[in-house]
């Protein structure tokens, strides 16, 4: 039985990747759009039905206790990490829910996106998302969960910037991506803390842990999940409403915001935590509910209204989990997921539905919200409205900060970029010095991060094109991996860093001075750019060598040496991922503008 189950789970995880790769192959081949569409229709309809069948069988089998509750893949992949999947009825029910949603939205999109210029892009990302869902729901081990987490982030962000020829979607996607990256860092931080304290690699091991480190871990993980669900640090979910209607429906209405919450409920169902974490989170969630409910009430368009409502109700479900009503939370999550999906899919019908209800009623409905007039004075209502109209001044402020950090609204001059990078490097240097002083032992901990940090910042802030961007990211990655590999040999590390610095200055010199004309005039085609993007993303992101090293080495490292080094290294990788995505998505916008 176990081998059958293993096969089924492996199939579910891999089918998404396979379908996505098949879609990509179609994109790169020279087949006609018509043939491609027909192929994808088969993929969606037949594949979707087949998967649903498998999932249904697995769920039934799991409920009838034929299957074991957990299976392990660790021995298969030959890595140090335990790869363990839950196959209990709850998890499989959620798999069933997400596959129903995915099958429905897949079929919906086949027709809805018919003849769209980004047809393949949608399905490639959509199926990566499917695999991410399976990983997120089934994983009991950190590594596989984290891979799913990152894949979810990247696929949903690239779908926000689906219409990459317009500026608005691209900018909003980068704003969301920055928040996602913060949540990745928090999650990684949580794992690293937990791992460094108790060597645990599985979620199910945690109830046995001591309270103190566990609380930090719970706090960090919960915050990461709250970012992913759209309500933290401020309500950013409306800004993700840029893609085509089905992608908004499946991502922000249904799965991408709901499934991370599953971990939240799971965690809290087995938790013994310091009370301040629980009450602190509850207070935060109440604040989110309060803000969201005001924002829903003043929203004037279909999608923003639903986005705010989604945040509000997900926060309610989280509170249910915090209060210990786990069964309610599990059920509520599924119901809310379906309910919002349905509503999001029908958003373009808003005018029609409104008039239909009005017509059946035989006249207009009475004005809404007037009962508040009785006990709230006008001046208070107006002030509240003003606050809400400005989104409590919070999200605009945050998005401005992100814009400046990412260099979106304002082009930062070259000089300033160098200044910022070296200033940051200097700060890190001082920090490292302080740490040296503190610990009183000579170990090149934070010093190591200085060169990759500087490279990463330059790559992020400077709007390099194509190769230049990649070369900087490459530099940063190599220096990062050098930390991981050469950590014991300080001198060799120094030599490597020096070598990289020379390489970097050489590269800058080549691209800033007049290079041979074939280099300058050579521009990549769209397909080459996609390839390049996938390659560099694989290099720095998850699942790629960058993160693999991190997990393999730096978590080990964090036990022996320094927790902050691992987290710092991860932050640098995140910045690199940001700059890869930023350069890819902005490329088209800028390219178009230059042409006009």
């Amino acid at each position: 039985m176990e081998s059958t189950l293993k096969f089924l789970i492996a199939y579910l995880i891999l089918s998404g990747f396979l379908k996505s790769s098949a879609t990509m192959l179609f994109y790169f081949s020279n087949w006609s759009a018509k043939a491609g569409e027909r192929f994808i229709q088969y993929l969606v309809n037949l594949g979707g039905t087949f998967e649903l069948f498998i999932v249904l069988t697995a769920t039934v089998a799991s409920v009838t206790k034929i299957f074991p509750r957990q299976i392990s893949f660790g021995d298969l992949l030959n890595i140090d990490f335990a790869i363990i999947f839950n196959t209990d009825p709850t998890s499989l029910t959620y798999i069933l829910v997400s596959f129903i949603v995915i099958a429905l939205v897949g079929r919906f999109s086949c027709f809805y996106l018919h003849k769209d210029s980004h047809y393949y892009k949608f399905f490639a990302l959509f199926y990566i998302f499917q695999s991410a869902m399976v990983l997120l729901i089934l994983s009991d081990s950190f590594v596989s969960y984290f891979v799913g987490w990152e894949l979810l982030g990247i696929s949903s962000v690239l779908l926000i910037s689906f219409y990459s020829e317009r500026k608005g979607p691209v900018h909003n996607s980068l704003r969301v991506f920055t928040l996602y990256k913060i949540s990745d860092i928090l999650l990684f931080g949580g794992f690293a803390v937990a791992f460094s304290q108790s060597h645990f690699q599985l979620f199910s091991q945690f109830p046995q842990a001591g309270i103190e480190p566990f609380s930090v871990y719970m706090l960090l993980t919960s915050l990461a999940i709250m970012i992913k669900m759209g309500g933290f640090p401020v309500i950013w979910l409306p800004r993700a409403m840029e893609g085509p209607t089905p992608s908004t429906a499946v991502f922000y209405g249904a799965l991408a915001t709901h499934i991370p919450l599953l971990l939240f409920i799971n965690l809290w169902s087995g938790a013994v935590v310091l009370n301040w974490v629980r009450y602190g989170l509850m207070g935060l969630l109440l604040l989110i509910i309060l803000m969201a409910t005001v924002l829903v009430r003043i929203s004037t368009d279909a999608k923003n209204m639903l986005a705010n409502a989604t945040v509000k109700h997900i926060a309610i479900i989280s509170i249910e989990a915090l209060l210990g009503l786990f069964t309610l939370a599990y059920v509520h999550l599924i119901i809310h997921c379906f309910y919002r999906l349905f509503q999001f899919i029908r958003t373009p019908s808003l005018i029609y539905e409104y008039h239909e209800a009005e017509g059946l009623n035989g006249g207009s409905f009475s004005e809404t919200g007037t009962h508040y007039n009785r006990f709230l004075p006008l001046s208070f209502r107006k002030s509240l409205y003003r606050l809400a109209l400005n989104e409590f001044y919070l999200m605009p402020k945050l998005s401005r900060i992100i814009d400046v950090l990412m260099g979106l609204t304002n082009r930062i001059s070259r000089k300033k970029i160098i200044q910022i990078s070296f200033f940051n490097g200097g700060l890190l240097f001082i920090l490292a010095l302080l740490q040296l002083y503190d610990i009183e032992q000579l170990h090149p901990t934070l010093f190591l991060l200085i060169p990759p940090w500087i490279f990463a910042l330059i790559a992020l802030l400077y709007n390099f094109r194509d190769w230049r961007n990649i070369s900087v990211v490459l530099l940063s990655v190599t220096s990062l991996s050098s930390i991981i590999f050469y950590v014991d040999e300080f001198i060799s590390l120094l030599a490597l860093t020096l070598m990289q610095l020379t390489l970097f200055s050489l590269l800058v010199a080549i691209f800033n001075f007049k290079a041979p004309s074939f280099l300058l005039t050579h521009s990549f085609t769209k397909k080459q750019k996609v390839l390049l993007f996938i390659f560099s993303l694989w290099l720095v992101g998850v699942p790629g060598p960058g993160t693999y090293y991190l997990f393999e080495k730096s978590i080990h490292l964090s036990i022996e040496k320094d927790l902050y080094l691992a987290i710092g290294a991860f932050i640098i990788l995140s910045i690199n991922t940001l700059s890869v995505v930023k350069n890819y998505s902005l490329d088209e916008v800028h390219f178009r503008r230059n042409n006009v």
Binding site: L104, N172, E242, T293, R297, T300
Partner: protein, 879 residues
Amino acid sequence: MSSDVAEALRNVRKLLPTQGPLEFFVHHNTFHELEALSFKDALYKGELAYEGATLKSITEYQKCLTTGQISEGTLKQKINDFLKESGTFDSDQLEFAYKIFLEPPDSNFIEFALCGELQPLKSYTRSKTKFFARAMENQYRINIDEIISPLLFRFFSSYFDQGVSYWKMPQREVGLLESFKYYYGQSSFLSNKWERELSRLIKKTAQAGPLSIISFCLEALKLDHECYESYLFELCFRYKGWGGLILSFEKHPEWNKKPDIVADFESFTAVLLLAECAYLKSLSPKKQFELDKLVPLQVQIPLFSDAFLASANISICQKENREKYKPVVEILTDFNRSFIWHQAYEENFYQEFLSLFQKNLETTARKPECPPQLQVLCCLDDREESFRRYIEEQGEGVETFGVAGHFGLDIRYKGIFSGHFRSLCPDIVKPTKYITEELLNGESIKRLYGLWADFLWLQTLGSKTLVRGLFFQFLTGVTAIFSLSLSIISPYSASQVRKYFKQKMDNNLRTRLVYEGSRDIDIGLHEMVMYGSNVLKTVGLERFAPVVVILGHGSHSLNNPHESAYNCGACGGGRGAPNARLMSEILNRKDVRQNLKKLGYYIPDNTVFVGGYHNTCSDEVLMFDTPEREDVKVAVSMIRKAAQRDALERCRKYEDVPLTIDSKQAYQHCLGRSNDYMQPRPEYNHATNALCIVGPRWMSRDLFLDRRAFLTSYEPSQDNDKADTLRAILSAVGPVCSGINLEYYFSYMDNKVYGCGSKLPHNVTSLVGVMNGYQSDLLLGLSSQMVEIHDPYRLMLLVVCEKHKVEALLEEMESLKILVKNNWIHLSVFDPKNQNLYRYIKSGLCKQDFTDHPTFEYPSQLASFFGRREACRLGIVRK
């Protein structure tokens, strides 16, 4: 000072595009404000003012040459005409002009544009005055709109909200400007610099009205008086969506359903100006100083593309006498070349049509002799063209007529299931008659519907509030997934299920129209007679069949914010069913018939008029108040059969439908399509419209016009000497059809600028319009899914009437004269007396003859389109 501003504003108002709420979508010429210019000049001017393409790119036209949509002969003819107009050229030069037309612009040798004989042409430019936004973009790479528009869009959509939000903006009755002042007059510690500057500016102008604020800001920006107009236009055009809505509200106050919203264009401009001024003032003094020096900025737009210059340069180098060919290139600017290509493109099509028309008259078309068996009055809409062909196909005695779809009834109507009165007549007419639908029985069902409405309403509210939201989730969350699954897996069965339940409910409902009796809604007898005789006169109905069906039309689709753009244009974007029902009821009245007899219309007693409704999206046909008669049943089944075949013809254009289906499958598909959440193209609407025939139907009855033609029935022999009937027809048909045609034209040519782009990311805002994704301006025009198969031909209006009458009418009717004289539509006249064809060229009707042109013939209707996706050749259908 303020008079300058007022004057400037008045001109800005004239140039800005307008569009009402989507519910009242009315097709109109996108370049309506430039109609006083000739078409070519308007394109040239509009291209600069609106910054969008007005013609296809030359490579696209060149592709048409290979597909046969443009023939080389017509192209040469057009080049010839153009060169002759602009000077004297010898044959060598003409030959040279042909050559550079056919050669594709060469972008591989762009360096050649910079040298050689033609180098000076590179500096031929037209300049446009631009202001701060462009200066900021050029100088600092900062887009002002990215910074100020989020605040403005959020404010406008909140202010103009027609009922989406649960809490409306408090106290918005004080006006747009005052509300803006209130909500942005204070800043928080989290606000950025420009928002603080904005609140400072607002405090400074707290007491001022819109005009004085505009003057104040213009003064503060240190602009010259001459620049006011162009600056204000630039500013308002950047926010054209909301500006257009406000202008339309000013024009049609009844479209604004919330009385506390004050739409005022001056306040709108003042708000925009306050925001922009505040942003500019918040810049550092150094930047401000630099900007002041830069603005107004002259942007130079080259007249010749580099690629063209390069290839022309290469061609000219091969010639011996180079100086001779330079003037040829000099007048062939990018715009002129595109325009010549476009003329050739259109001409080819017009010739195809006109030759067909003439040939048909010479050979097959005969006036029907046999007594009529069934007569159907339809809207003149181009979508009914194929439908009518299939009705006529079913018998010699079956006749159809085309007339504007409101059937001359200027009414406001409220059905039992509609919330408000809605006018069902052309946009320009102010209706005075209020018609209601009255329930005869089934009060309990109505009450049940009322409960259902309350449920729906609570559900929409449920997503906005906390407790109700929770309640509805648990109530409908799981059932939602079943209904969603069904509509996604099979929209057709979902629609059948819905229909089944609806029929169960509706079966016992009997209603009637109330149009007389009470004082407010009374249509008097003489008015009824007038309405009736008008319709009969317009279409030239003299002999009556036992059954006369009057069909209004509309369209039903799901997930389609632009739904009313698919409805009947003559009904102002509404569904024409009540008009058809009312008209047939009027014509069935004994007293009306008696009075009509006095006017010369003898309606036999056994003739019955039946009102109906044709859904152009699903091809369903509904009938109202049908009498229990055998011939009526036969007639209805004939019409339904025609609708099924019509569905088949429509389906060939949908790429997701196989070409091999039969008419029954096609009908089922269309039915599903109209009830499909996942269908951004429920139907193609007016796409590919290009023709309009005003004349007796028998002249065009055998023609396969591929759903391109508006067909208006008109009997020239029955008209009086002054052609009063024709005048009435043309005064409606000319502007309406050209409005539809030109809106499609421009939305096709530059969908990003004149249209609203792809439908997929659209987000319905404030119940008035759509925006892109999270936040953007309101989007005007048609979506790319609506126009993707369109062929941008201008309308060819063919009138069948004596030449002198048309000439007299042209002199008389100002609106038509402008359209024809300025080439917004092409006019041709067929004189039934001497069987000659005339075309309006330059300033008068010239005789032309196309009888020797080759024409296409099809053995049957089915053969004309079957198995083809792309546009078909027009042809004669031989039986």
